[in-house]
Point group: C2
Chain length 465, copies 2
């Protein structure tokens, strides 16, 4: 777990493969200046291709090398926390006050990640006042998922290199990997470069990074224990339920944004990458489940754009803005959002259109003289409508208006009758008629018939450019 | 009510304005031949326009003329039946056997109309064997809505002149008129011509027309009374519930096809006329609620095309076909059905597309030399990407990748970096970029850049022909 990574000193040969961490404070002076220059200011134009091709990765995990490759500290935290919760649940009764507080505290620490780590710091989707920033930094620490800086660096790489090996939680490596696997072993590759120099300059982020270990102990465990203990005498419940159990839920809730949100649901805005939208994901992640939208418009403070979609993180940010605690809530231009939706719908219709047969147009048909038409209609049932010659052999008996109305027009022009004189045929009838075209009458396209030559189903079409 | 019309002899001056009825049997010989010639075989090509313009209609109904214009017999039947039901419900307890039988008999007589009158006779959407025809003719008589021939003639006119004054239940005249109003007064106009010569030749239809009054008394009232009476001793219940109450429900159920089905719901197949699709209508009409489909494809034995939609009439016909009682179930070619759906969806997307702003293309922009581009970028932030010059002034600080990556490229070509070298921007980013075009670089469209010049949102478009 990141909580640990943030303070463990990596083995030297591994150093370049782990996320860049705030070094021990003695070297702080030296690195401070380095950090204020964006990490990616001087990367070459072919950085992505070059790095994927030339940077060496650790070997894949196998049963043989597993024991050497495990990240034991993350593993410990991710197994011990739920174990405490289960042991506690078996030995200590849950009282309603502790239950209520645990749920409440789940939302507080969850929002620390979603409204704080994610939307504020990783994506700069709004500005937060100092008090709100300190609140979010502490609440986020209570979720024990690493410092803001470490987390945002990984998350920015995730957005920047989505679905590639430079993405630390590359969803193409499967649900298990993107959910938790990536934390349980040593990273196979250094994540792609991502700039966090803006965060290095932020005093709240630096403060949190510096006091990170103290903060996770305080906000993750001591605070909930003290509240339950002093409040209604349930010290152990505070530790077990509001501490350990709540923390396990927050962990897997956040992890779902990397796993479930890249796997379950629809892609209404773009389908180039794995992110998806789904209500279920939103429910388990405090509103981060509209992930297809989010990857397209990451600097938007919203994940859900419709009022009825579940996005409490957005609601929280909005309420903060009403109280003057947040400002400059960013939204992507609506025109562009709707373009994405339109494109996705057109893709679907394009496929439907490709699966259909349409009528031949004049260029694909032989031109027949009136005399020849007359002659040939003696042999098979031909009818002229709107300048086209139609063979209606397979339809005479099917005609809802009766066979007599069709046979009457064999060898004749039925344009007026067909176009409303006798019966104003439906668009479906026009489409069907167009499928029976076998020729064009020479000189038959009279004035005003041009628009009648295009069957209704071919007036609007999905065109490709 | 039609039950009555079918045997009432209209006043002479009115004759041409009422539906054509089977004349008394003494004249049967004479009319038989006349009937076998289709009524519309010799109508002129401009029949519809001519008739609407020149045929005189009765004056509109007002409070003054109402008493003279009422159709007292229909009015009586449509008020006395529910009155009996209400009086009965107050004076006689409903036992469960009668309840069950009434519901069952509602479906039997309802199917007589939907599977018989409507889909078999009015629309010829399948062939029925003699036993099934007799069953449907009797069940339909039990619904007391006029003889097959009278009903089908009106219904064919309804399809042929939908939403015009030649349509006996023209939905444009309001919900009340299309539901019941049209029956309560003398018809304002003769319905438009519609051929029923096929029905005049059908022995079952003729048999039902001939014995119509006997049949409605027997199937509408005597049969349910005898079944409830002999079955569980509930003679009065049989009359009140399985007779009168059931009949009122069947009436309004059928009337809903003319009112509700032309008013409530969606138009997934075509929106030229009023018919609509709605589950609620389907539920109250034994499956006739997919009326938008039905008006487009009236000779299709189905109203609902998806298996999960509620269309028991279709199920009934299908089951009959499995038992050899029905055959030649007609379905409209799927290709044409899907074209209708596609067109309707394209209409929606066309409107969405019209509401959006898209990027200018090369023809709308000035061509700028590299030198001039260099010079002008000193004054405002210009960047070349894919041969276009973009002004990014309003975006530098909004850029999720950080301002530094953009400023770095002012006065330079960022094509490679933007197109994946540094970051493989989302389609949304490409769309947004295209909105910032201010010029075309002279000689800037290199080989292989052509497809990059079209923003993703403009590769698929709804085009109009
Ligand atoms: C081969 C060409 C024709 C085709 C493909 C065709 C197709 C159709 C179709 C699909 C319908 C069902 C209702 C609808 O979709 O609107 C229909 C109904 C009808 N057609 Fe045609 N038709 C043709 C020719 C004609 C001609 C030449 C006439 C008139 C002289 C005519 C008169 C009618 C009438 C009166 C109906 C109404 C039937 C009713 O609703 O009861 N049709 N036709
Ligand atoms: C004016 C032109 C540009 C526009 C309109 C633009 C737009 C965007 C947008 C909308 C995003 C959000 C993510 C996405 O939608 O894919 C983004 C992210 C990004 N852009 Fe640009 N960009 C521009 C120029 C550049 C250039 C020239 C570079 C590189 C040299 C660059 C590098 C990045 C990076 C690295 C990200 C990822 C940020 C993250 O996810 O943390 N952009 N850009
Ligand atoms: Fe993601
Ligand atoms: Fe994100
Ligand atoms: Fe209708
Ligand atoms: Fe119909």
């Amino acid at each position: 777990m990141s909580a640990v990574d943030a303070c463990a000193s990596p083995a030297p040969e591994q150093a370049s493969l782990t996320p860049p961490l705030t070094p021990p404070s003695k070297t702080a002076k030296l690195t401070k200046e380095k950090e204020e220059v964006p990490a990616d200011i001087n990367i070459p134009d072919n950085y992505v291709a070059w790095t994927l091709k030339n940077q060496k990765a650790l070997p894949p995990i196998t049963w043989e090398n597993l024991w050497n490759e495990l990240n034991y500290l993350s593993l410990a935290i991710l197994t011990i926390t739920p174990s405490i919760a289960i042991w506690g649940a078996c030995t200590h009764k849950l009282c309603w006050q502790t239950l209520l507080f645990s749920v409440f505290y789940y939302y507080v620490t969850g929002l620390g990640i979603t409204a704080g780590y994610h939307r504020l710091w990783a994506h700069r989707s709004y500005n937060a006042s100092k008090p709100l920033q300190y609140f979010l930094a502490m609440a986020g620490a209570g979720a024990v998922e690493g410092s803001i800086k470490w987390w945002s660096r990984g998350h920015r790489a995730h957005h920047r290199y989505t679905d590639t090996d430079l993405d630390p939680y590359n969803a193409h490596r499967g649900l298990w990997w993107s959910h938790i696997g990536w934390m349980l072993v040593k990273p196979r590759r250094k994540p792609g470069v991502a700039d966090v120099s803006d965060l290095s300059k932020n005093p709240v982020v630096r403060w949190q990074h510096r006091w990170y270990v103290h903060l996770i102990i305080t906000c993750g465990f001591l605070l909930p224990m003290f509240i339950c203990g002093l409040g209604w005498g349930d010290w152990k419940g505070g530790f077990v339920y509001a501490g350990a159990a709540r923390l396990s839920f927050v962990h897997h809730s956040t992890f779902c944004v990397n796993s479930l949100a890249h796997w379950l649901g629809e892609s209404p805005f773009d389908d180039k990458h794995t992110p998806r939208d789904h209500l279920v994901t939103a429910l388990v992640t405090i509103g981060e489940g509209y992930h297809n939208f989010h990857h397209q418009f990451p600097m938007d403070y919203r994940n859900a754009i419709k009022w009825y979609q579940y996005d409490p993180t957005k609601w929280f940010i909005w309420v903060c803005s009403q109280f003057g605690l947040a400002s400059h809530l960013k939204v992507f231009p609506d025109n562009e959002v709707r373009k994405g939706q339109l494109t996705m719908q057109l893709k679907r219709l394009w496929e439907q259109q490709e699966g259909l047969r349409f009528a031949p147009d004049s260029n694909d048909l032989p031109i027949i003289s009136w005399e020849s038409f007359q002659e040939q209609s003696l042999k098979r049932p031909l009818i002229v409508i709107a300048g086209f010659i139609h063979d209606v052999a397979d339809f005479i008996d099917q005609h809802p208006g009766g066979a007599h109305l069709i046979t009457k027009f064999i060898g004749r022009d039925a344009t007026t009758a067909f176009f409303g004189g006798v019966y104003d045929h439906s668009n479906a009838a026009h489409n069907l008629l167009s499928m029976k075209r076998v020729g064009v009458l020479h000189g038959g396209t009279q004035l005003g018939l041009d628009d009648k030559a295009v069957p209704p189903a071919q007036r609007l079409r999905v065109a490709r450019y």
